[in-house]
């Protein structure tokens, strides 16, 4: 019963974070492609408790996606080649978005196109639309103008897509960076210069898996995107590098399974995190991460989540006990 703060009200840590013009009540965001349209998780997760929800990647026209098998588990992760299957802009606006408007949580729409103009048309189609808090641009998809090479591997095409979207939208623009590059900082700088409000990283790492009995690839698409805890150290290092390079806010992701993983990303400079594959393993993981961060703040006397952001101590560890 003895404590110097006994008469003080319990400190409630302030978890709010700012991603450019976008205010989030906490730094935990459900990542695109792993949370459907949010509605799929509604029986298990109160969406209003999340920092934000990024809905399934959206294209101008509906996309059927790749032939199966589309997913395969690998040690500590999974490869997916869904092929960006989605219902298209029209059905999203008509069937999904109206059901999302009842939530107070910001809904971020992840968009992608096959060529630069398509990004612009899609952004224009979402212009002024109520209930869309921001756009997240997926630049990891193949660019038909460049023989199917991903937009995101080249700083010039990445910047061009960013500019095109910015020209056609009134929403904050987050650019989701591909890790399948030699130096992610180069693309990050190019996209920042193009005017992006924020960056999110990393998207999946390209990989493959083979069945040795049949000698066939385990994915019908041959290659897929690796996600899950296996990629976390890579993701963390990339977020660390980018956060020190750009001035705009960075959202970190890649293999976050629990609140300590999320804290690592905050400590290297991310202002928020996205949680992806872990939603498949534990559908309530987003809520548990928020709770874990809150407890960590309380136990460590942290009043504002911003105190953690970029708080990595790089001096050699010393024992001063």
């Amino acid at each position: 019963m003895i404590g110097k703060d006994f008469d003080m009200p319990l400190p409630v840590p302030d978890l709010t974070t700012q991603i450019g013009p976008l205010s989030l009540q906490n730094p935990v965001i459900a990542a695109s492609g792993t949370f459907g349209y949010g509605l799929e998780f509604e029986p298990l997760v109160d969406l209003n408790h999340l920092g934000a929800v990024v809905v399934k990647g959206l294209s101008l026209k509906p996309m059927a996606g790749n032939p199966p098998p589309r997913i395969v588990e690998t040690p500590g992760g999974m490869l997916n080649a869904i092929g960006l299957a989605n219902i298209g802009l029209e059905a999203f606006l008509k069937d999904r978005l109206p059901k999302l408007r009842k939530f107070t949580t910001p809904i971020i729409v992840n968009i992608y196109g096959h060529h630069t103009e398509e990004y612009g048309e899609l952004a224009d189609g979402l212009k002024g639309v109520e209930g869309v808090a921001a756009l997240e641009i997926n630049i990891s998809c193949p660019n038909v103008e460049c023989g199917g090479m991903a937009f995101g591997i080249d700083p010039v095409t990445s910047a061009r897509v960013t500019e095109t979207v910015l020209k056609n939208t009134d929403k904050p623009v987050i650019v989701k960076l591909s890790p399948n590059v030699t130096d992610i900082k180069t693309v990050a700088k190019a996209v920042e210069a193009a005017g992006a409000h924020a960056l999110s990283l990393i998207n999946t790492l390209t990989g493959m898996a083979i069945d040795v009995e049949s000698r066939k690839p385990k994915l019908a698409n041959l290659v897929g995107g690796l996600s899950g805890p296996a990629i976390k150290p890579i993701a963390l290092y990339m977020v660390y590098q980018v956060a020190r390079t750009v001035k705009i806010p960075v959202i970190g992701m890649g293999g976050i399974m629990d609140y300590t993983d999320a804290l690592e990303f905050l400590m290297v400079g991310a202002r928020a995190v996205e949680i992806g594959t872990a939603n498949f393993v534990n559908p309530r993981v987003t809520l548990e991460v928020i709770e874990g961060i809150r407890n960590y703040c309380e136990e460590n006397g942290i009043r504002k989540i911003g105190e953690i952001v970029g708080s990595l101590r790089t001096e050699p560890a010393t024992s001063n006990q």
Binding site: R70, E73, M78
Partner: protein, 260 residues
């Protein structure tokens, strides 16, 4: 739909490579309908990472049963679990079998581990039941429904090697049945893909209602990951259907059987 820590009540070997696990959850046992499935997190930690989908093969009071074949890392680990241990389960998930009016006789056709959802269907709707047709590789692989439900139920069996019952395929038994004026019947099937393809090819030209339970790799079970796509029939006007949410039970007409 629930996501719960359930208690393992039993976990026993049934044949060389199939096991039966009993799990306690009044919520799931009461909500479960034949054809639905659960996603089981085999153990906490990161390996295996994803949950594994299993058909519910029966319920008893506040228990639900899962029949599983040991084929990989996840199912191997499941055999090591003991009664009294806890395991996280998400479910019940997916669409159940739709049972037509009472005049219609029901033909259950199962192959191997595919009998699991049909055992539950047989338990749920016992009236107008026609003996369950089941196919296995050999006599030693036969899984008796009685072994699962504890209730006496007759069944016809076919084995690949003829060590028990009809020597040949379970679809031979179905063919025979359909040849002798079957009356109003509906067929319910689950098993290996070639067997299901054959069942669909036998029932569709005769316009016999046929519901088939499919399996697929899946990550979430909730309709979010879109990993469980199966090629849809041209008639359906779709490219793919999703096993977790639109299935696992489909009308035979919905699936592209050549592309499966």
């Amino acid at each position: 739909m629930f996501e719960l820590l359930t208690e393992i009540v039993s976990n026993q070997r049934v044949t060389d490579d199939t096991w039966l696990m009993g799990l306690r959850s009044a919520e799931i046992a009461q909500a479960a309908k034949p054809g639905q499935f659960v996603m089981i997190r085999v153990r906490s930690g990161l390996d295996p990472l994803l949950r594994r989908p299993f058909s519910i093969c029966g319920v008893r009071d506040d228990l639900f049963l899962v029949l599983y074949r040991v084929i990989g890392k996840g199912t191997n680990l499941m055999t090591e679990l003991r009664a009294g241990e806890g395991i996280r389960v998400l479910g019940p998930l997916g669409k159940s079998f739709v049972v037509p009016d009472k005049r219609t006789s029901r033909l259950l056709v199962g192959g191997g581990i595919g009998i699991a959802p049909l055992v539950f269907l047989g338990q749920f709707h016992r009236e107008k039941q026609i003996p369950f047709m089941m196919g296995f590789r050999s006599a030693k692989d036969i899984i008796s429904p009685q072994r699962i439900t504890g209730e006496d139920a007759g069944f016809l069996v076919a084995t690949d090697d003829g060590t028990k019952g009809h020597r040949g395929l379970v679809t031979d038994l179905l063919e025979e049945r359909l040849r002798e004026n079957p009356g109003e019947v509906a067929v319910y099937a689950c098993g290996p893909k070639p067997m299901l393809r054959k069942v669909a090819q036998m029932t569709m030209p005769l316009r016999i209602p046929c519901q088939i339970s499919l399996e697929s790799h899946m990550a979430c079970g909730l309709g979010a990951c879109q990993g469980c796509a199966v090629k849809a029939s041209a008639a359906s006007g779709r490219s793919y259907v999703y096993v977790c949410k639109e299935g696992p039970v489909f009308e035979a007409e919905a699936i592209d059987w050549e592309g499966l």
